[in-house]
């Protein structure tokens, strides 16, 4: 019958559904890319080399042609969304649209680069994307563990920082990377234990507690850094580092192999954790309980789940994960410096929200943010006219758009941030 049909569409925001709105935006972006980037691109070949340098096999395309072509592909994806396609195509088409836009942009930038640097070494780009995304992955996973069980974790920054600090300190004192790694995990767990006790036992506002704990972590690590590490760097701030572990067979895959499988323990650990937490969250008893506590603690309690104990456990596990993430700095890349996390914890929070509170979503969001970060470095190196500061804003702006409901809808676990009082 026609009448209820109409009634349903009327409720569903009429013609301008979310899909159509998104489609219109993507169409506009694609056309903009085809016209603007196409006009700005030069006739130089844009080379995307499958190595770390200019040489070797490469994907090539004429700059102008590429910019217009990929722009049109993005526009086509947008047009398809606007025309009204089944819902299951939404993510795919949106992805095609965004990737097309980015490729069009890259064709312009690479072809317009000074002569001799009209190439983009993809191995470098992929590797650095993962390196830059690594703390975000660990941080966002810490967020998933906390928030899925109903405790808001704004203290990711502090957990990463404390992990980095105690990894460096105890790694240096003991001279062992493994002691450093364990100490880093415990350092992160220390901050999240404070979060757990004050949020769960004393019912302090969780966002407030997170903010205060971040400051506390900055203060404690900064204080001890100046008092200990600066006065005697060889004793307190010269942690050993994890070497490169090559995975046999996998390391010989072109592009992916050298970029991902000749890396250190933290990358493998991070990717493994995403899989493990994803499986645990959606396929095990613990996961079901965690999600139910995060959505409706009263119902979970009625069914015999120990709400508070589960929350304590998950928050502390989150601290362990974030602590290891902090160690991915001090036990692999740099020695500790004051406030060295520098806001990565908040980008991790953004990745968590942008990834809709799921481990795989968080991974993708973290990679996207890592790519934006790497792109800023690359564009700086080829002397692009795009200011790197605006690319650095990208993760934050993307998150604002996501939360405002412009790119799909994000919804936090229902009981996220609400203390549970039994009784």
């Amino acid at each position: 019958m026609a009448v209820p049909e109409v009634a349903v569409t009327a409720v569903d925001e009429g013609f301008w559904t979310r899909t159509r709105k998104t489609g219109a935006v993507v169409l506009a972006l694609g056309l903009l890319a085809a016209v603007l980037f196409g006009a700005l691109a030069t006739d130089q070949q844009a080379r995307f080399t499958l190595s770390e340098t200019e040489g070797g096999a490469a994907l090539e395309i004429n700059g102008t042609v590429g910019a217009i072509l990929f722009g049109l592909i993005a526009a086509a994806a947008g047009a398809a969304l606007l025309a009204g396609v089944p819902k299951r195509w939404f993510t795919l088409l949106l992805g095609v649209g965004l990737v097309g836009f980015v490729l069009s942009f890259l064709c312009w930038q690479v072809s317009a680069a000074p002569a001799g640097s009209n190439f983009m070494p993809l191995v470098n780009v992929v590797r650095n994307t993962f390196v830059l995304a690594l703390p975000l992955i660990f941080g966002a996973l810490a967020g998933v563990l906390c928030e899925r069980s109903g405790v808001v974790n704004v203290a990711i920054e502090g957990q990463l920082l404390m992990g980095a600090f105690s990894g460096a300190l105890f790694g240096s004192i003991s001279g062992s990377v493994w002691v450093g790694l364990v100490a880093a995990a415990i350092g992160g767990a220390f901050i999240s234990l404070l979060l757990a006790v004050f949020a769960i036992r004393y019912l302090v506002d969780q966002v407030v507690m997170g903010i205060v704990l971040n400051l506390l972590a900055v203060g404690i690590t900064g204080f001890l850094y100046e008092r200990l590490m600066q006065t005697d760097a060889t004793k307190y701030n010269s942690a050993p580092r994890f070497g490169t572990w090559e995975i046999p067979l996998l390391k010989d895959i072109p592009l992916i192999g050298p970029a991902l499988f000749r890396s250190n323990i933290f990358l493998y650990l991070g990717l493994l954790l995403v899989l493990v937490i994803h499986f645990a969250l959606f396929r095990t008893r613990w996961g079901l309980r965690t999600r139910s506590v995060g959505e409706h603690p009263t119902a979970a309690d009625t069914l015999g789940v120990k709400v508070l104990r589960l929350r304590y456990r998950n928050v502390i596990m989150a601290g362990l994960v974030a602590g290891v993430g902090g160690a991915s700095y001090t036990l692999a890349l740099f020695s500790f410096t004051k406030n060295m996390i520098g806001g990565k914890g908040f980008i991790a929070l953004a990745a968590l929200i942008f990834g809709r509170w799921s481990p795989t979503g968080a991974l993708l969001a973290a990679l996207f943010f890592g790519f934006a970060d790497q792109l800023a470095t690359y564009l700086g190196a080829i002397g692009s006219s795009i200011p790197s500061q605006f690319l650095a804003m990208l993760p934050y702006l993307a998150t604002i758009l996501a939360v405002a409901g412009l790119v799909g809808r994000v919804r936090a676990p229902a009981a996220d941030g609400k203390p549970y009082i039994k009784g």
């Binding site: 808001v152 004050f198 203060g219 404690i220 605006f390 934050y396 998150t399 939360v403």
Partner: protein
């Protein structure tokens, strides 16, 4: 709409918890009349008449001295924080730590050396913040107070910004970003506009306020229109503001042409806040503006229609909507006013004596510290002023502690964070010191709402 009840908002009650308490009262006491919660929502709750005859004032004072009231808990929280700070000072001093190696043989060594290092550090903290007994002369004697007030002024503004938003049921983590945009516009007006003294200062302040207002408006309108959580958006906007600042500093026309590093042209003297006690002391008119702002926010919250609506929305948006208050309009207005306050706080950083040009660190941490100040001040305007004074004093004293005792300034950050942690969990302080339950005020700073 005019406020029917001029004495709305029981001053003794923790404002941030009005709604919370109303709800928990209703839960704990199901037999209470249902009108109870509405009464609290409208913030017209009257105190129950005392059942027994009023005890003498002295008796009351003694009773309350060791009870979990605001003042006692605050003082004890500061003491606890300083105790933890002392432990940090001791464990981070290898020479002192070495004496603990033979503590069983000669305990006096460990105790004496610990006492020396800790007492010297805290003595310098006091001398740098309040008064140095060895100082001679007018300038030297007033210097600590001047420093304290200089650090206090911007914190009052950002603290008020966060507190005002709290009262309206919003958590403004974006004071940092609002102050950043504020400082950019204030500085731009300060070095770009050729205006006579007085007018120039006024224009620069208005520009700073406008910058904060814009940055407050965005999360406000997003919250009102789409329901996007202001905590997330303000966090993100903080970083957008930081990157915008680092971009704009190095643009032509903004960057100081004589410098290679990231620093803007200096603000002209005509746009600077006048110094109050001569050129050798840094205290400037910003502190007077801060007191004025405190008075204004107090008036706004407790005496104006907007303030009444704001508190009603903060206590219970659904009830407020039912009563005919536009919740969305209130959200936007609250965030804009909060942005104005934070923007003025940012302006203080470049128009006052702290700096006269934009640098990437020009706003320091005033936005994040503002959150702590607001919580410490129990989200009441005059409380915020007091809390900002304490934080300003810690900052000023911390500088002296760093240069005289070699104790890193970061200790101040630790102390500030710890004080607020203890304040936020009064139950902990109460348990540690075995305090009596307070008669009137229930101490609970829980504002939990989630995303």
């Amino acid at each position: 709409m005019s406020n029917p009840n001029p004495v709305s908002g029981s001053p003794d009650k923790e404002p941030a918890t009005e709604a919370q308490e109303a709800r928990s009262e209703a839960r704990a006491n199901p037999t209470a009349p249902a009108g109870d919660s509405e009464r609290a929502v409208a913030a017209t709750a009257t105190k129950e008449p005392p059942a027994e005859p009023r005890p003498s004032l002295g008796r009351l004072f003694l009773d309350n001295l060791w009870a979990a009231n605001t003042v006692t808990v605050t003082v004890l929280a500061v003491l606890l924080a300083m105790l933890v700070g002392a432990v940090l000072i001791i464990v981070s001093d290898p020479a002192v730590l070495a004496t603990y190696g033979y503590i069983t043989a000669r305990p006096s060594d460990a105790i004496n050396s610990s006492w020396t290092v800790v007492s010297e550090a805290y003595a310098n903290l006091f001398k740098g913040a309040i008064f140095d007994p060895e100082a001679s002369g007018f300038t030297a004697a007033l210097s600590p107070i001047s420093e304290t007030l200089t650090y206090t002024a911007p914190l009052v503004f950002t603290g008020l910004s966060v507190a005002l938003a709290f009262r309206g049921g919003l958590f403004n983590i974006g004071a940092q970003g609002q102050a950043t945009i504020g400082v950019i516009l204030a500085a731009a007006a300060g070095f770009a506009l050729p205006l006579p003294p007085g007018v120039h200062l006024l224009v620069a302040l208005i520009a700073g306020a406008a910058g904060g207002a814009i940055w407050g408006f965005i999360p406000g309108i997003l919250k009102a229109r789409t329901g996007a959580h202001e905590v997330i958006n303000t966090i993100m906007l903080n970083y957008v503001a930081v990157y915008f600042l680092s971009w704009i500093i190095i643009q032509n026309g903004v960057q100081n042409p004589r410098r290679a590093d990231a620093i803007s042209k200096p603000v002209e003297a005509s746009a600077q806040l006048p110094r109050l006690l001569g050129d050798n002391l840094r205290v400037h008119a910003g502190i007077l503006l801060a007191v004025l702002a405190t008075w204004f926010v107090a008036w706004l919250l407790n005496r104006s229609t907007l303030g009444f609506e704001l508190r009603a929305v903060g206590a219970n948006p659904d009830a407020a909507r039912t009563a005919g208050i536009s919740v969305t309009k209130t959200f936007v207005l609250v965030m804009v006013i909060a942005g104005v306050l934070a923007g003025l706080g940012g302006s203080n950083m470049v128009l006052g004596s702290t700096a006269d040009a934009l640098t990437p660190q020009v706003v320091a941490q005033i936005g994040f510290d503002g959150i702590l100040v607001a919580l410490l001040g129990r989200v009441k305007p005059w409380g915020v002023l007091m809390a900002a004074l304490l934080f300003g004093a810690l900052q000023a004293g911390g500088n002296r502690m760093q240069s005289y005792s070699g104790i890193s300034l970061e200790l101040v950050t630790v102390l500030q964070a710890l004080i607020v942690i203890f304040i936020a969990a009064p139950a902990l302080v109460k348990a540690i010191f075995q305090l009596r339950a307070a008669r009137a005020a229930r101490l609970q700073t829980s504002l939990a709402k989630g995303w």
